[in-house]
Amino acid sequence: MLHERLIDALGADAVKTAPEDLAVYAFDAYTTGRLPAAVVLPRSTQEVSAAVRIARDCGEPIVPRGAGTGLCGGAVPTEGGVVISFARMNRVLAFDPARRRARVQPGLINLDLSRHVAASGLFYAPDPSSQKISTIGGNVATNAGGPHCLSYGTTVNHVLGLEVVDERGDVFHTDVDELGYDLTAALVGSEGTLGIVTAAWVRLMRVPEAVRVWLATFPDVESASDAVSAIVAAGIVPTALEMMDRIAAQAVEAAFHAGYPTDCGAVLLIENAGFEDDMNACESALARIARERGATSWRTARTQAERDALWAGRKGAAGAMGRISPNYYLQDVCVRRSTLPKALHAVDEIARTYGITVANVFHAGDGNLHPMLCYDKRDRTQVQAVIESGNEILRAAIALGGTVSGEHGIGFEKREAMTEVYSTADLATMARVRDVFDPARALNPEKIFPSGAACPEVKPQRP
């Protein structure tokens, strides 16, 4: 029934039903879920609506999917359902260079948007390391960040409005410039649980006049993170402030020959964009803090080619890890920037306790840690150690006043950890929003909310 109706509505080429075709949709970049009942590849908003109506009629939940680069099981079916893939809705629908806006389909690859507008001297600021493959829809659903979000802000700061298909298949629009509730903000980061994004208006930025990139090396991760905290405390927010430890730098160098030193404990990759007149003062302030915190060298990337190589290495770091470990688990937590040294120390202790090799490549300026826990999935004890140390890292971040995801989201993977950061009342308040947008819990069920917290009764707190 489901299959026939979907094929009737969308055409046979837009519906996948064979188990071997469905298999790839049971995964994202890290998590494995169940096989969906069907996968559809709509070409238009109307087709998305039709697919939603049919799925609901047949009692199937809906799982929206971008490029599947998520790391927390957000795009992975947990109980069958219809996966809606946006692979065919990947166009720039409108581009208004004068007003620096574009309207895009959700399946558009992040980097393709910046490429599309580059000739007009513009770019789309949120730049997740996965930007060569991840989609705007996925970025919106996870409020994706990236190295340059330090000064430009994450995806939510760049979305101006959305076209959304709701759980009944009806279309609605949001616009940050309209009065009323900020539904745009509610939808961004909602991981496909409040609606299916079928188009987005995004803000574009002017390519800055001057850009400088610097590399500072440190004897260890502690001194490098100390420098990061000191830079932030001095009120300096460069465009990007990224850290790589020795293991990560070695993997990146082996893979990319990007120019990272491999004989130091940690490297800071710092970028500042703005006016040429400000660059020297900015560089001397940064370099002075770095030296005070124990930097052993300071280097400027002289040419565009050199800068591009360093960034390519940074953004390819996760992929390069394949050289040192068959598998890795990429954790994502965010702590206060002043606690960065403590947080890294905690990660190191945890890794040691569990006998795990950990590599760190992360958005240091935001306090957003990405420890990569190396393991071999054929070894059950290693797998167990990785799971446990991953959880320990979450707990350590929470103990430091941090959060369980800085940018990858909660998905299926981290939903039980939500109870460790939020009270029942906090979660029940979020659930009120879900009640309005998805009362039947048909949109991406079993994501974000911990099991058993779907509709808790909460009394006002009166301690």
Binding site: F172, G189, Q461
Partner: protein, 397 residues
């Protein structure tokens, strides 16, 4: 007052179905439909603690009743700021400013207030105290509730605490007051759009003599506010002067002392009334259409023989139009018809100030948002008995 006390008051009101009017600094009392006569005022000003000042993180957590001035003074000690730019900062509260969705003139550079919010504590209609976000600058853990409350006009809950990202204060600021002779306005707008150093704020002003510095020429005046480093300032000044000179503007006065005060006076003017004989509208839209939008509104006011004072935010496209007449009676005779005509021209125009009794009869929020039905459903889920600022917000939310 404590958050628990606030929670208890709301829980009682919820149980008894008593409507409440949430009051902060009362500086934006000219916004929205007037409170119901039987609604009980609930002041949040007692929630005035700076909960956590974390300069090393470039963040701060404050309670909803903290004034913008108190926030700014705390941050100034660390050389940082939160660019809210709302009127009457000595009285305006952080909670009220955020709830009203206030948008300031520097947002094209630093973002909207909602962009710097990283966490919150809300007290819902039934007394539930709920937190969202935290003190970290990046956080994807569940829905972005803090941003949902911002701009909700106190109809979803009471903002008891808000956590904010701060930014470094600029090394230098400079204000320019520019008289515009005949045939220079359009070219001056073009200059502003093409500057290498984008001004932190820029306004085209006509009138508002008592509030905003500078003198009107035949086509009004411009105020340009620069925030930048020492290294950039003089070059930016020369650039502005020579570009304006080429546009036919002979003189550009620099205001280097009392710059901040002068900047704040301009923002205070947004809600400045002329006794009971004025109504002030705000219209949003694209920057490149702002000049035309303002001219259309001014022409309309002239048709109605109303005096028009205007502020046009040349960086964000906002138009502030204050219409006034000789006395309250004269204004009262025309204002409803003018209100209709203005909304034909600019459907989303909304009222931000006015002490005239007819204010209650106007379309104070302009056109309803496209997703109003969903917003109503949200309101019903958060405040089922409709006790929070009932009927005051757009579309009766």
């Amino acid at each position: 007052m404590t958050i628990d006390e606030l929670s208890a008051s709301l829980a009682d009101a919820h149980r008894d179905r008593t409507p409440v009017t949430i009051v902060g600094g009362d500086t934006l009392r000219g916004m929205g439909r007037p409170p119901l006569a039987d609604a009980i005022p609930l002041s949040v000003r007692g929630l005035d603690a700076i909960v956590e000042d974390a300069p090393a993180d470039l963040t701060i957590a404050v309670q909803g009743g903290v004034t913008l001035r108190a926030l700014a003074q705390t941050l100034a000690r660390h050389g940082t700021q939160v660019p809210f730019d709302a009127p009457l900062p000595g009285e305006a509260t952080v909670g009220g400013t955020l709830a009203a969705g206030w948008l300031g003139p520097r947002r094209h550079l630093y973002g909207r207030p909602r962009d710097v919010a990283i966490g919150s504590t809300i007290v819902l209609a039934d007394g539930t105290v709920a937190r969202a976000g935290g003190m970290v600058v990046k956080n994807v853990s569940g829905y972005d509730m803090s941003r949902l409350y911002i701009g909700s006009f106190g109809t979803l809950g009471v903002l008891a605490r808000i956590n904010l990202k701060t930014i470094a204060a600029p090394e230098r600021t400079r204000l320019f007051a520019i008289r515009l002779p005949e045939h220079t306005r359009a070219r001056a707008f073009a200059v502003l759009a093409s500057l290498r150093v984008v001004p932190a704020a820029a306004w085209w002003v006509q009138g508002y003599k008592a509030q905003i510095d500078g003198d009107d020429g035949a086509e009004g005046r411009m105020l340009v506010f620069l925030e930048c480093s020492d290294a950039v300032l003089e070059g930016a000044t020369r650039e502005l002067r020579s570009a304006l000179g080429r546009a036919g503007v002979p003189e550009t006065r620099v205001i280097d002392t009392g710059t901040r005060e002068s900047f704040e006076r301009a923002i205070d003017a947004y809600v400045a009334n002329v006794g009971e004989r004025s109504i002030t509208y705000r219209m949003h839209g694209f920057v490149d259409e702002a000049e035309a939008r303002a001219l259309g509104a001014i022409a309309l006011a002239r048709q109605f023989e109303l005096r028009a004072d205007t502020i046009v935010d040349a960086m964000n496209g906002d138009v502030i139009l204050r219409v006034s007449d000789l006395d309250a009676r004269a204004l009262g005779a025309k204002i409803e018809m003018f209100d209709d005509a203005l909304h034909d021209l600019a459907p989303s125009a909304f009222v931000i100030a006015g002490a005239h009794p007819s204010r209650a009869l106007l379309q104070v929020w302009g056109a309803a948002p496209a997703a109003l039905e969903r917003m109503r459903a949200l309101k019903a889920r958060f405040d089922p008995h409709g006790i929070l600022n009932p009927g005051r917000f757009v579309g009766g939310l």
